[in-house]
């Protein structure tokens, strides 16, 4: 696949997201997360798609730690700046928790990310390469759980409750319109 096609492949969904974005004002913590993830994403895109020389030597060992500690730092710093709780954005505001509960969730995530970033460095330096890769894949299973959670509580209700119903209503309207023609 050519570079142009690959660029179109990631640019198109982002364009759709921009066009269909909510028009109400964003919480400061959402902006902060958006900026940080934009930077991390740009880095990822640059080194995986466009930089021919690849990422710097030895950087692979640091990658998970940089991500975890960046997230942990945001989780700690943003509430201190009274910009809200990033956990709300990451987990999603689909669960009705009080602010106190969100604060604890936020702190728990921060602690978890801090530990995971440290664990990655420790595994990278103390264990064999094979064990370190195994550790990374084990951590990645968490992503799968998060995706399944999202699928169940967000995507399926969105698809079945909104998208399919709207498509069905439109198809019904089109059918009624066509029957009036003949």
């Amino acid at each position: 696949m050519s570079l142009v096609a690959v660029t179109a492949l990631w640019l198109l969904p982002l364009l759709i997201a921009w066009l269909w974005r909510p028009r109400q004002a964003l919480a400061p913590c959402a902006w902060a997360l958006l900026i940080v993830f934009g930077a991390l994403g740009a880095w990822a895109l640059w080194f995986s798609l466009y930089a021919h020389y690849g990422e710097p030597a030895g950087f692979a060992f640091w990658k998970p730690t940089i991500l975890y500690w960046t997230l942990a730092a945001m989780m700690i710093a943003i509430p201190l700046l009274r910009w809200g709780y990033p956990a709300k954005i990451i987990i999603g505001a689909y669960f009705a928790f009080s602010n106190r509960e969100w604060r604890w969730i936020n702190l728990s995530l921060a602690a978890m990310y801090t530990i995971m970033g440290g664990a990655n460095l420790w595994m990278a330096s103390e264990s064999s390469y094979k064990d370190w890769v195994g550790f990374k894949y084990a951590i990645m299973m968490n992503l799968l759980i998060i995706v399944l959670f999202r699928l169940n509580f967000v995507w399926l209700p969105l698809l079945i409750g909104d998208v399919f119903v709207q498509l069905y209503r439109r198809a019904s309207a089109a059918y009624r319109y066509l029957t009036t023609l003949f």
């Binding site: 921009w18 689909y94 169940n152 409750g161 909104d162 119903v165």
Partner: protein, 430 residues
């Protein structure tokens, strides 16, 4: 064009009865069995050669040679066939030894015209027989059974037994209905001058007393196998020991186990442990045949009907002039004075067919019904209160998460961002 170059191992010597020998060339046919491979003989188009596999041990080869030599010298007298059927080969009996560089390697036998014959196995299924160009009716099946019994009787009179008698080893001439038995080199021979055992058996046709044992009485074994084949021929391929267990416990899954335990459900007296297969038409057989079947499957050893008894019983039905086979109202041949087995079978199958079609119709209607149900659920127009409450419950189950206070497009935009974030996390942690 130059002649096809022959491999030296394909040039062999035929040694006929009396010692006359001649050199011939073999051509592979691609047909191979457990013991050897079949070759055509270029100079003798009416014959084929069976060459034992190169892996056959010298001991076995010596035994084969001894047996084949005897068979070549002693051809059994076979049932007479009319002059117009002289081409019929009733036995693939060895007629010449084959030597390669003076070493015994196999034997020559008469060639059975496979174009004009079909395996007896095909007659067990009417549709298969029809596909092979054979329109099976009860007159033909009885005649085939009679001819098979006649052939076996000739062998038994010479104290020769087939032992591994099964439909796959029997060919039927489509036009004349004569039968031909293959694999004669595996026969059991017990004459005064020579004896040879036959270790090959097939459990589905093996008498109960020989299951998992050596065949001590080969003729008794043949009697059992012959009765089994005749029963299957007349009963649409249903094996006399296949049935429906009255009580599932201790019912062997294999036919061999059922034979061993004598679980024969088609007797005149019902079996307590096993019931007949519903599609069986054995009740349309004449009493004389049913008694022979009962003796064959409910007794043991030499009390089973001999091939001669089968000849006596079947000859009247195989003879068109006897009037013992007559057409039913629909024109099928049946045993006179008995219900028509073909009509009986059709009625049994039709009932099953009606049930099958009804099931298929319900299955085909299912997608349409499902679509209507979904439409009613979405429109909330269920007329049945039960269906309405069921649909409501399912919708509620799908709406576990509270509805987002944003439009669908906004929600999709946020989810695109969320997935992008997930991909970024994946890249950083992989």
């Amino acid at each position: 064009m130059s002649s096809v170059e022959r491999k030296p191992e394909h040039v062999v010597q035929l040694v006929w009865a009396g010692g006359r020998s001649e050199q011939v060339t073999l051509t592979a046919t691609g047909k191979s069995g457990g013991a050897g491979e079949i070759f055509s003989i270029d100079e003798k188009p009416g014959f084929v050669a069976k060459i034992y596999h190169a892996t056959t041990s010298p001991d076995h080869l010596a035994k084969y040679r001894h047996k084949i030599q005897w068979m070549v010298d002693y051809q059994p007298a076979l049932p007479q066939v009319p002059a117009e059927y002289q081409h019929v080969v009733q036995l693939a009996w060895p007629e010449a030894l084959i030597l390669r560089q003076s070493r015994f390697v196999g034997f020559a036998m008469r060639k059975i015209a496979f174009d004009h014959t079909l395996e007896l196995d095909y007659l067990l299924n009417r549709r298969q027989a029809a596909n092979e160009g054979f329109d099976a009716d009860y007159g033909k099946l009885v005649t085939v059974s009679f001819n098979l019994a006649s052939l076996i009787n000739c062998l038994h009179q010479k104290r020769i037994a087939i032992v591994d008698l099964k439909p796959m080893n029997v060919k039927v001439y489509k036009a004349s209905l004569y039968v031909s038995i293959l694999d004669c080199d595996g026969f059991h021979i017990a004459t005064d001058e020579f004896s040879s055992d036959a270790p090959q058996v097939t459990p589905e046709y093996l008498a109960p007393e020989f299951q998992e044992k050596s065949v001590a009485h080969p003729e008794a074994q043949d009697r059992f196998a012959l009765a089994t084949i005749i029963f299957r021929l007349l009963n649409y391929g249903i094996h006399p020991f296949s049935g429906v267990a009255a009580d599932r416990s201790n019912y062997p899954p294999e036919l061999a186990g059922r034979i061993e335990q004598g679980l024969y459900p088609y007797g005149k007296a019902a079996h307590t442990r096993v019931r007949k297969v519903p599609a069986s038409v054995h009740e349309a057989f004449p009493d004389g045949l049913r008694e022979l079947f009962d003796r064959a499957f409910a007794s043991s050893g030499y009390s089973r009907p001999s091939a001669q008894e089968w000849i006596d019983a079947l000859s009247v039905y195989a003879n068109k002039q006897s009037g013992q086979m007559s057409p039913c109202d629909k024109g099928h041949l049946r045993f006179s004075g008995r219900p028509c087995p073909t009509c009986l079978r059709d009625a049994l199958i039709q009932g099953a067919e009606v049930r099958r079609r009804s099931f298929l119709a319900r299955l085909q209607a299912a997608p349409g019904r499902t679509l209507k149900y979904v439409q009613k659920t979405l429109r909330q127009t269920h007329s049945s209160p039960f269906q309405a409450s069921l649909a409501q419950a399912r919708l509620n189950a799908l709406q576990l998460a509270p509805p987002a206070p944003i439009s669908t497009r906004n929600a999709i935009a946020l989810e695109i961002l969320w997935i992008s974030g997930l991909l970024i996390v994946y890249w950083w942690t992989r």
